[in-house]
Subunit: 256 residues, 3 copies
């Protein structure tokens, strides 16, 4: 039997050796570990963006996967290093809300604080728990060490929700959660929020076209569609919606 | 026996979880699949640039390799998802010309349209066939499922040629196909086009030096050499030729 | 037994197929090779920065690891392609000082010039030894071919030191060796250089706070701490120290 997959999601970027060192630690403890990078380009210390990105990938990783996620502005402080089990998958990282979106709607089977000195590097640094505490924990879990052996049981977690659309007298207001590589604006509207016909507004820009896919639109046309995450996305066919609209994470849209 | 290698080439970038989700799907279907990223930084929707980049790597992957390539502006539209077999390697992706350069000069053994619902994710999205159709297809192929099982035979492909140099009264005109990380201009001139002595011109800039390698030139010197893809490249020793010359993909050069 | 890990560290970036071609060559020679990317974003041709980055990762890779490192401005010239063995790890790349920092304080067990034509690709290019000479060498080593079989013994290496702090009448002067993804300035001061209380100066900026970790400081505060590489780092809690101070690699700091 193959050891489970370990995914990695961080805000470390790829210019340093941070991710490489984590993978070296993992391979040292669990030779042959199968690793899948989700992304290392979460904006620096953006816990909510990281939480959203992690959630987008969960359904595409097999049961048993271990998700090692590190967006950790509080590294070295009192925030706890944890391992969680929920929905047949395992999560390793800081207890700062990074896992809230992933856990939502799943039954949490186990929460362990990573206190076991045997399962971390010796003399862990106070600035890089990804390498010194989380990577070893993920590797030991992949090797088959039960989560409970890595530390002590906790009953609570820090819980930080991804913003959801809210009602106003003018209509439902949602916001941009993420801007992808193509400049598509991924909003927090989901299919259940949609009314037909679509009447969507950002400032003075009105979008009335709900499409199935990009190529249905004219070149350069501004459109809305349900994207591959299941969220409403604002796109420009063959172009960049974020640049066109000057939108950023947090920009609001109104269903009017 | 190890399963064959699956390469990945896309225009998805690495900031989102798109590539990670594809790899998760592949590992779920074919545990232990060996994956090699060719690049995920094909310029957005640039099919010809993607075709050229794929071609540059082919000779360095072993027989049996499965190339999963997705530069797919027509995703969700009538363009067909395909698997092709040629020259001992297999290609999976959209039928939009992305494989023309790779197939040129190779005998195409098989063309299959990916219609088999059993070999894709359930309810595939209309905007991310990379994850929902192409990744599963590549994974089943890696697992040993014959290509013919994945869909129905086709006899034709969309064919888009990479531009080749052409003759003019003033001389042979070629163009920049790709600009690499170092700012080297990779042209569509190949060794067979070269005449000695070299007389190359871009606007008012004349290049008369054909070198063997970068360090033969003086620091900052503008030179031409046959690069590692077998194409004529314009380089600046220790510098960036694209910036120096203000050149982009498509900039023309003249052998005079 | 698993084959050893091959790490890759280059200045090739990730937009081209350079790294993918190297991995293809490695998988072709040593199927199932385990590869760990350290980074491909060493600044172009910056041998000293590459040397520092390689050193930061060494302790986190298991014994037996093969480090394939290519920052190679002299590719194709008289500089030698080499394999080195020291401290239980193996190093493959150009003999231009890239390995000096990694080797320092370790006993060098073996230096071999990669002259064996059997262990490189046929007709190696003169501009991409990473693919044509170094990747095959690393793969054959991973497969178990003894280093001595790959070429002929050498007794000397090019040796290029990473700059160390030096004494001046005003105090000890150090410099920035690396700026990480977060804008943290990694200096060449180590714990042994520190005196308490900390009195550090860059131009008119004075830093008197030595912290344990980032979150100890106020949001936006400029601090110093011993970072995860064991070097003194200048950071801004929740911000970017390089931008704040206008610092670059080489910027000097004074202990006064």
């Amino acid at each position: 039997m193959k050891p489970p997959i370990i995914t990695l999601l961080t805000d470390f970027g790829t210019q340093d050796t941070y991710v490489g060192a984590m993978k070296g630690v993992i391979q040292g403890i669990c030779p042959g570990a199968r690793m899948v990078d989700l992304t290392h380009e979460v904006p620096a210390q953006a816990v909510i963006a990281g939480a959203f990105l992690l959630k987008t990938a969960l359904d595409y990783l097999p049961k048993g996967t271990i998700h090692l996620a590190v967006v950790d502005p509080g590294v070295g402080s009192a925030r706890k290093p944890v391992v969680l089990k929920a929905g047949g998958q395992t999560f390793v990282g800081p207890d700062n809300g990074l896992f809230t979106a992933a856990l939502k709607g799943r039954k949490i089977a186990e929460i362990i604080e990573l206190t076991g000195e045997k399962y971390r590097l010796k003399n862990p640094s106070s600035t890089f728990h990804g390498r010194d505490i989380f990577a070893p924990a993920a590797a030991y879990l992949a090797k088959g060490v039960p989560a409970a052996r890595l530390g002590k049981k906790l009953s609570n977690l820090i819980w930080r929700e991804i913003p959801v659309p809210f009602k106003t007298p003018k209509g439902l207001v949602g916001q941009v959660l993420w801007i992808d590589h193509f400049g598509n604006l991924v909003t927090n509207f989901e299919a259940s929020h949609l009314k037909k016909p679509l009447r969507l507004k950002m400032g003075k820009t009105v979008i009335l076209n709900l499409h199935e896919h990009y190529a249905q639109a004219k070149k350069g046309e501004l459109i809305a569609l349900i994207g591959s995450f299941g969220n409403l996305e604002i796109s420009v066919n063959g172009g960049n919606a974020a640049q066109r609209l000057g939108a950023t994470i947090g920009t609001t849209f109104l269903f009017f």
